[in-house]
Amino acid sequence: MRPKLQLLDKALIERILGEAFQLIEDPGVRVAPYVVDLLRSAGITVKDGVAHIPEALARRLLDLAPRGFCLYDRSGRPAVRYGGDDVHFDPGSSCLNILDPETQQARPALSADLVRLVQVTEMLPQFAAQSTAMVCNDVPPEIGDWYRLLLVLWYSEKPVVTGAFSASSLHTLLELLAIESGGREALRRHPRAVFDVCPSPPLNWSEFASQNLVDLARAGVPAEIVSMPLAGATAPVTLAGSVVQHAAECISGITIHQLAQPGAPIVWGGAPAIFDMRTGKTPMGAIETAMLDVACAEVGKYLGLPTHAYMVTGDGRVIDAQVGMESGMSTVLGAMAGINMISGAGMLDFLACHSIEKLVIDAEAIASAQRLIEGIDARTESLAVSMFAQTGLSGDFLKLKETRSLFRKEQHFPSAVIDRGLASMNGTTPDILERAHQRVEELLSAYERHPLPPDREQELMAFAQREARASGLEGLPGILRTQYAHDSVS
């Protein structure tokens, strides 16, 4: 039996949806001029920039959204399956700062940091997908969004959770993906990336977000709604009230998206949080934040839609027991809730900072959570009696062939990041930070880059160099010239 966490009963989910449908009609949803004609052509009243979406129409459009879809790796194999209770993890995204691996002090992230994070993520099976995890402070801000994706595509073969920072730059990101996939049609058939699109709470689809939804739907590239109610600040203070707002934002987003292209893949996702009434901060490691994540996903699952949440994060400023506790708890809850894509690993300090050391620690929590949701199986015909028949009361189970054949299935073996007594074998006991640091170094030295086919590599570099130069950037930070100089267009 697969263990499952549920926080809402059917009656409460129905009430949540009932109120969400009510909200999208009255007071309605603020929308951008870009989608007004699209909405009006479907019979939706749009007045003073506010769309009043009737429930019946929204329900019809929800039915058109696919129940599931895949993201593909570079070789075209399905590697992430959105839908049902499949659970995948990816690192947190778009962080400006990193805990410096040497000093463990926060500093602005650079291209080299993102490259290291991508390489470590590539090596860890716990992460089914990459994310465009950091904004590189050594490239001009106006190219910050697509540059992250370039580095991920260069160093990774896994699917990517990404997002654009503006309406226009989305097309640069899509172009990079199309080059890597071998054209727009290939990208549509086998999308490698999903794009986060964020409504502004409460109930506002800005020009940038509206446009991203429409353009992604038409490009056939999956969109992931990241609705972010802040309970008590930009959303009702009650958890149930915030879940209603989240549902209303998702439903209205799906309405826009499905009107643009019926059947286009979309995810019911979010990064809800409570609002700390003492500090005004949004604690991502709070238990109520995790409860919001789980409850929001439950509503999406009830509608049969693929789901996403922002978890595996802690709020301390350094890697300490608090951060470990918060991240570990939220990892377990997210996995038990069966959320398809759980973003956030590696992040701390209210999502203000990334850490590659934390990423490898989180990977251990993820592996444990993955073991947990495998559940307890009856692997043998008799559960214990036949083994006792062999050992009697001697307690000598170590010798049994069942032990040898099954212990690897029953037990998960963590890496040396987790101290199970092996860490002190050399006479010294490195602490968790040292063990994590060492693990990062090991993974980095084992990492090997797999180049793209030469023609695509050349096209990708030519495109990137052209775009970078247009912003006054010479060279491509994070990519060694020798890796592409032989075939680049100078």
Binding site: L96, N97, V135, F165, N204, T234, M277, R278, T279, A352
Partner: protein
């Protein structure tokens, strides 16, 4: 007993009770208490107590918002009375506050505004999605001492720089101190864009504003016109 009145005024702010605060202000006016005394001895100490309790984690944001509403209600009664007398509140400085262009988040900014008001600054809140040009125009019109620019998003943070540039372009940079804040903002970013200071939260923003005012006064003394 004026002392009792002042203490009730103070308490009405701490309780976040706008009707009581306004009622007490009206009573004070009809019983001949000077409006400036009601403000300085009654309501302002209330806001200061709120600010201190908030800083100690003993008071929460919804309580503080209610206190701020109560302060507004009292001032709506007292300000016209002050004007009639031709008197003016002494104040710590004029602050023009807003959230940067492209950004519609205002909780942090409201908080900063509330606390600055509590500590005697005259705050003009320009709202959200404010362009650099608007910041500059308002700073000129209102004779701002300080311009405070908030941003919540990594994508809109860079627009703080255009506020600095707009103030430079308007020729106001030497007269106006600029402070920046918001979740993604750091001290280093503030330095990089040429702002005068960064505050990590609303209470530090008050300390920063006071420090900037002190610097401003010193520089005026050092460079007589």
């Amino acid at each position: 007993m004026p002392d009792d009145n002042f203490s009730a005024m103070r308490q009405s702010i701490i309780d976040g009770a706008p009707d009581t605060a306004a009622g007490l202000a009206q009573q004070a006016m009809s019983s001949g208490i000077a409006p400036i005394d009601a403000i300085n001895l009654g309501y302002v100490p209330g806001m200061q107590a709120v600010g201190e309790q908030f800083a100690r984690g003993q008071m929460y944001l919804p309580d503080m918002m209610a206190s701020s509403e109560a302060m507004r209600a009292a001032m709506a009664v007292l300000d016209p009375e002050l004007k009639k007398l031709g008197a003016e509140r002494s104040m710590a400085g004029v602050v023009v506050l807003g959230t940067t262009k492209g950004d519609i988040h205002e909780i942090g900014k409201i908080l900063v505004g509330t606390l600055l008001t509590a500590h005697g600054f005259r705050v003009h809140d320009l709202g959200v999605d404010v362009s650099g040009e608007k910041f500059a125009a308002q700073a000129r019109e209102l004779h701002a001492d300080i311009v405070g620019v908030s941003a919540l998003l990594t994508t809109t943070m860079r627009n703080q720089k255009s506020v600095v540039e707009a103030l430079e372009k308007a020729g106001l940079r030497s007269q106006v101190k600029i402070m920046v804040g918001g979740a993604p903002v750091t001290r280093r970013w503030a330095e990089e864009i040429g702002a005068d200071g960064y505050a990590k939260d609303a209470m530090s923003a008050v300390a920063l504003a006071r420090q900037l005012m002190a610097e401003k006064t010193q520089s005026v003394v050092a460079e007589p016109a």
